[in-house]
């Protein structure tokens, strides 16, 4: 098992590397960027710009080799303020700092800074993560629960009115553009009925400070209940939107997995033993259908981190999805690279977790 995990991790490194290289190059090619941001600011002198650029290993007009240096600088294998591949301690720069390596680049935990806000990327991400986890976590738990129940029932009652209704509604929900659904919900429940808050995670009058800031958490620790209540109210519309558009694919998946196992010979054997439908469905069939479902769920968790760009944008939810959208709009390269890298790492990690879960749940698989 350990060997398997190590092997899978090693296999993932080239893919992550490739993703980061391609993304880096793509961003290089995109219009705008840090220099454009600096150039527009009359308060920054060219010397200051040069110092900044060197600090972050960026060049004014990089050629191919320059791009490679920039990338390696971002990665942490190259040190632009010092001796290139060699750190200040005279050792290879990519080594961990305590072994005499450098301190710059993502492999040393330095994700760079946000061009737009001027703050460290990691700080921004950590500030936004809780909001995304609250939104995506709530929505995910709800849609997976409903999807499993509905999918299993639809498979058991295949071709029934219920099954057909679920299929029909599922297709309709699946086909709705997220942003349109969000706008309509805002219109109905916010603008017309004034029932629910439509923007943000917490009302300004409830919270002493913006969500995610240290002041907010201090206030939260002192008196959490009213804050939780307010957040819950703000959660309803974005969660409904996310659940509506996500549920169809998962319930379809569960239904399909259940149909596959329900048609297996061992289910017939279980029925031939005289087991009641309850045991046949939940013990014999569902226990086997759980294997693909677990894998699917584990993979979905990996994507929860990146948040929901559209939903968060429409509802002004201060999460990762909106951070990413802001990054794209502002050509905030280090921020985007940071989000992308952490996202890819999570996908890899959860892929491995999915495989391990599969092995735990299925006695046939031994690594």
């Amino acid at each position: 098992m350990i060997q398997f995990i190590v092997r899978r991790t090693l296999q993932a490194i080239p893919v992550i590397f490739l993703i980061s290289v391609v993304s880096f190059v793509l961003m290089q090619q995109a219009p705008g960027g840090p220099q454009a941001a600096f150039n527009q600011n009359p308060h920054i002198s060219p010397e200051q710009v040069d110092a900044w650029l060197r600090r972050w290993c960026l060049e004014r007009n990089p050629d191919l080799l320059g791009t490679v240096r920039e990338y390696l600088g971002w990665l942490g294998a190259y040190n632009c303020t010092g001796g290139g591949f060699v750190s200040d301690h005279g050792l290879p720069n990519f080594l961990p700092a305590f072994l005499g390596g450098g301190t710059n680049g993502v492999i040393h935990g330095d994700f760079g800074f946000s061009v737009v806000s001027g703050r460290p990327v990691l700080e921004l991400i950590l500030e936004r993560l809780p909001a995304t986890f609250i939104l995506m976590g709530t929505a995910f738990v709800i849609w997976v629960t409903i999807a499993v129940v509905v999918g299993v029932l639809a498979a058991v009652k295949r071709y029934s009115f219920f099954d057909q209704a679920v299929t029909f509604i599922g297709y309709v929900l699946y086909s709705l553009p997220t942003f349109w659904l969000g706008l309509i919900l805002i219109f109905i429940f916010g603008v017309e009925l004034h029932l629910l808050p439509t923007q943000g995670i917490i009302a300004v009058r409830t919270s002493p400070a913006p969500f995610g800031t240290p002041q907010f958490w201090t206030a939260f620790a002192a008196k959490p209940l009213p804050l939780i209540q307010d957040i819950a109210g703000h959660l309803i519309l974005p969660v409904v939107t996310l659940v509506a558009v996500s549920i169809a694919a998962d319930s379809r998946f569960v239904r399909s997995a259940m149909l596959d196992t329900l048609s297996q010979d061992y289910v017939r054997t279980a029925r031939a033993k005289g087991l009641p439908p309850r045991s046949v469905i939940f013990k014999h069939a569902f226990r086997n259908a759980l294997l693909p479902i677990l894998t699917n769920v584990a993979l979905e968790i990996a994507f929860l981190f990146s948040g929901a760009i559209v939903t968060e944008t429409i509802f002004s939810w201060p999460g990762m999805g909106r951070l990413y959208f802001e990054g794209v709009s502002g050509r905030d390269y280090f921020l985007l690279m940071g989000i992308l890298l952490i996202g890819s790492l999570l996908v890899v990690v959860f892929n491995i977790i999915a495989d391990v879960l599969y092995a735990v749940a299925d006695p046939r698989i031994r690594y």
Binding site: R268, A272, K273, G274
Partner: protein, 366 residues
């Protein structure tokens, strides 16, 4: 005994010697392209402790018959359209689902064709056998596991104490089929249904498993319904035989009656197409043509398009399943559905306008 075997198809429960009597059974499947009458008029009976072989080509409705007896037909697309299944004095088709569950696995147990896929891969062998025992016999998990070990050694599995903790994928196909048999026997059933139990196994294992089934049948005295496409298996394993063609029983009787002196041309065709029956150098006899399209069954005898003896009434009228005419003493208890073996004066002539067996493809209530 032989009179009992043939019996007259009447109403009400059959006599106490009869363990299972299937009357006029019809199971149809409603699929996208129409209705498939997979089982379309099946009649047979099994006496207590005796063995019946149901034989026929793939697609003739043997397996559906077995699943119908167990009431394991998925509805939809399947539907048991008509018939009675008298088992131990009760009509299984009239039992509630719950009553039927008490019969399944307890009074009637079934062994399937595919040992590789018929066991649940995520539970141990012991759990799977004990599950049925606990369900039907109301014993503790420990007692049920002991029973599992006991039946595993009964079917000749070495080191059963170890095997109960193993998963199906750790065993070979032959071993798994032994496990299936052990599972079927775990509740001492009155009837054991074996649906092509050896078809998926290696030839060398096939003989062992058949021998095991035969031996266990004799030792426990359970009745056996063996479904197979292999007349050789029938000849070696069972006492009585029913031959099925296109959803119907076309001939039945004791094994020596049917196999030594077939009355139905289809049985005859099956027998002469076995290579060992043909002398060296002689051409192997084959049944010409193919099984009829189930959406367009022939209106008369279903075998008529392929039958070398077909004559006037065969095209339009279904032959009744009855004692072949003329019958000798040796024919006692056997039945065949062929106009050639119906007395000439009872055959429908060209002038006859009533369509005797025409209601077949109609759905009869249910």
């Amino acid at each position: 005994m032989t009179e009992e075997l043939a019996g007259a198809i009447g109403s009400g429960p059959p006599g106490p010697d009869v363990l299972l009597e299937v009357r006029g059974l019809r199971t149809h499947f409603h699929v996208m392209d129409g209705t498939v009458p997979a089982v379309d008029g099946v009649d047979f009976r099994i006496l207590r402790g005796r063995t019946l072989g149901v034989v026929g080509e793939s697609g003739c409705g043997k397996s559906v018959t077995a699943l119908t007896i167990m009431r394991l037909i998925d509805t939809p697309p399947g539907e048991i359209v008509a018939g009675e299944i008298w088992f131990d004095g009760r009509d299984l088709l009239r039992l509630s689902d719950e009553e039927m569950r008490k019969v399944r696995g307890n009074d009637i147990a079934m062994i399937f064709q595919e040992p590789m896929t018929s066991l649940n891969p995520v539970f141990t062998i012991g759990d799977q056998i004990a599950e049925a025992v606990r369900l039907h016999k109301r014993v503790s998990q420990r007692e049920a596991l002991n029973r599992a070990i006991e039946t595993l050694s009964l079917v000749g599995i070495p080191l059963p104490e170890r095997r109960v903790r193993q998963y199906p994928h750790e065993m070979s196909g032959g071993m798994r089929q032994r496990v299936m048999i052990a599972m079927a026997l775990s509740c001492d059933p009155k009837l054991l249904i074996a649906d092509e139990p050896t078809t998926a196994l290696d030839v060398t294992i096939q003989a062992q498993i058949l021998e095991l089934i035969k031996e266990i049948q004799q030792r426990t005295g359970t009745a056996l319904l063996l479904i197979t496409h292999d007349l050789g298996v029938v000849a070696e394993t069972v006492q009585d035989v029913a031959v099925m063609y296109a959803g119907k029983v076309v001939e039945r009787g004791k094994v020596d009656q049917v196999l030594l002196d077939p009355k139905h041309p289809y049985t005859e065709g099956l027998l002469t197409s076995i290579p060992s029956h043909v002398a060296r150098g002689q051409r192997l006899n084959v049944i010409k043509g193919t099984v009829p399209n189930p959406f367009r069954m022939p209106t008369g005898c279903r075998f008529e398009p392929r039958c070398p003896y077909a004559f006037e009434p065969c095209r339009s009228f279904e032959p009744p399943l009855e004692l072949p005419y003329p019958a000798s003493a040796a024919d006692a208890g056997r039945l065949a559905a062929c106009w050639r073996h119906v007395a000439a004066d009872r055959r429908p002539g060209p002038s006859a306008t009533s369509h005797v067996g025409f209601a077949v493809s109609q759905r009869i209530g249910s």
